[in-house]
Symmetry: C2
Subunit: 326 residues, 2 copies
């Protein structure tokens, strides 16, 4: 059976270079990479990573548990997380928890059996102690999962404040805020409380409408929004995540209400597909790529340092992106 030296000889490079390419570390030119891959193929060389993992106790596998990867925000997070892991020589095991605590538990047990080096969790169906008792490096994506589990998120206080001040500037008097289910322990709740408080302090009527837990299926959006609009016919401003905002625009068009002259809309998230949808949504952009990169670098810090110091939570700045709906 060929070994790494045979590959190096065949490619005319050093063993160190082959090793760096295999472990995806350090800069290697594309032409050198090609030479090494060609040599590996000609020799039919496939180092067995699983055998190596048993020896090194490292699998270079990272688990990512998301509620539903087909939701645009999560799809973008998954893309950027996979990209950041790839650049650091790690592979991604993707799990959709699908709002099911049995399934999330099975995934976590499965990830442990497969000896993943760490887990990034953006789901939240289990009790907090289920997460804290895991003996694995864990990062929480926009969730409070327990003491000692670092949380990476956007600065939602800033997000709520930016949106509230924009509605004040625009002169809105009756605002609806669609909010996630408050049973879910997420930093995003700060957006809602900040927004409500600023509205109250400025004597603006603000109705909070709360979604059921894990309200991800697009087909449920319109009936839910209809009910909210029926109950609040005087609304002149609406604050909601981008996908809900798109559905609100659709429902308002059925009612012959004009955006922004009758109702002003501010979204939240800044998902990429927004750039091709008319009208252009005014929205608070979360730095999705930066959140993914910070989650990966914090997780790799936990994996590579046997330290008892827990990295602090990270809050990344958001920004208001002006569109045609305000």
């Amino acid at each position: 059976m060929p070994n790494i030296k045979d590959v190096a000889n065949r490619a005319g490079v050093s063993v160190t270079t082959v090793s760096r390419i295999m472990n995806n570390r350090g800069y290697i030119s594309e032409s050198t990479r090609k030479k090494v891959y060609d040599a590996m193929e000609e020799l039919n060389y496939h180092p067995n990573e699983m055998a190596k993992s048993l020896y090194t106790k490292k699998s270079n596998l990272i688990g990512l548990i998301l509620p539903d990867v087909s939701i645009p925000f999560y799809a973008e997070e998954a893309k950027h997380i996979e990209e950041a892991l790839y650049m650091n020589g790690y592979k991604l095991l993707l799990c959709n928890a699908s709002n099911n605590c049995i399934r999330e538990k099975e995934y976590i047990a499965m990830l442990q059996r497969n000896q993943v080096d760490g887990i990034i969790i953006g789901s939240h169906t289990l009790k907090l102690e289920e997460y804290t008792k895991l003996k694995l490096p864990i990062i929480a994506l926009d969730r409070f999962l327990g003491k000692d589990i670092p949380v990476i998120s956007a600065d939602h206080t800033q997000g709520g404040s930016l949106a509230a001040n924009e509605f004040i500037r625009l002169g809105c008097k009756n605002v609806i805020q669609f909010i996630g289910n408050t049973q879910v322990a997420t930093p995003a709740n700060e957006k809602n409380s900040t927004f409500s408080e600023i509205m109250k302090n400025n004597n603006i009527n603000c109705v909070n409408i709360e979604f059921p837990v894990n309200f991800f299926s697009f087909e449920n959006y319109l009936p839910f929004i209809k009910t909210a609009l029926d109950a609040n016919p005087n609304v002149d401003g609406i604050f909601a995540v981008d996908t809900i905002a798109f559905a609100v625009i659709k429902e308002l068009s059925f009612r012959n209400l004009k955006v922004p002259s009758d109702v002003k809309i501010i979204g939240y998230d800044g998902i990429a597909i927004g750039s091709i949808i008319a009208p252009i949504l005014t929205t608070i952009k979360q730095p999705i790529r930066d959140i993914a990169n910070s989650a990966v670098s914090t997780l790799l810090y936990l994996i590579n340092n046997d330290s008892t110091i827990v990295p602090s939570d990270i809050k990344l700045p958001v920004m208001l992106s002006q569109g045609q709906t305000t």
Copy 2:
């Protein structure tokens, strides 16, 4: 160290039941599952799947290589594939090829080193012989990757025909068809050729506008569409994948052209987010979940049968979904 018998005793069930839960096979009630997982936890029992894999030569890992998981169509495919694999006791390693052949090659080498049991490929940056020489069960998602690699796709001939006949019924005379890059060997090319042929046979002017290879970035859509519309001012019908169709609607609104009275639009794909975007797009729906399920079941057939019979390609029916853009 606890073993599977200890878990079965603790949970008050048979070893077979524990084994079925661990391997995720057969129906087990949620209450039994919970008992078994509780027992595993109380005993801190984590069977090492990697050690087992070296022994059984099966990892229960499947690689999925997609161009970009943040594109809605691919995000939905990834979700349904992960779901189908989970139901069959397999785990998903997700790879974004990002239109880069070096990276796709590295992924395939990585998947082989990790002893995946099979690969589902929806990307296409390598030469065909790179795929056919792999000694692994492979399924191609909507791509021709080489002899003996089964292709799972929608029936694009039916899709092209449905759209063409709809434009004829509506009386369109100058149609633009946006098409993927024809260098990519995909069954979706049949949609374009069928559409063009029916247009020609009915004396309808049809301009094909071809995208660059791997044209995935939303921000590139509008400049590209502007050029196409400038060159074809008399257009009264446009056929394009859903995301391009959304961008077309946006560009037409800038030009004060009315949809559908001035220009009729038919999309292709039927992505879920379309249901919350106004106006409702008339579109040809691909059966995304059925495609995912067929890809997984065909791959599992290849993995579990040492047969030399290659399963046939599978073409799944599409349907026209009537919206407000025609």
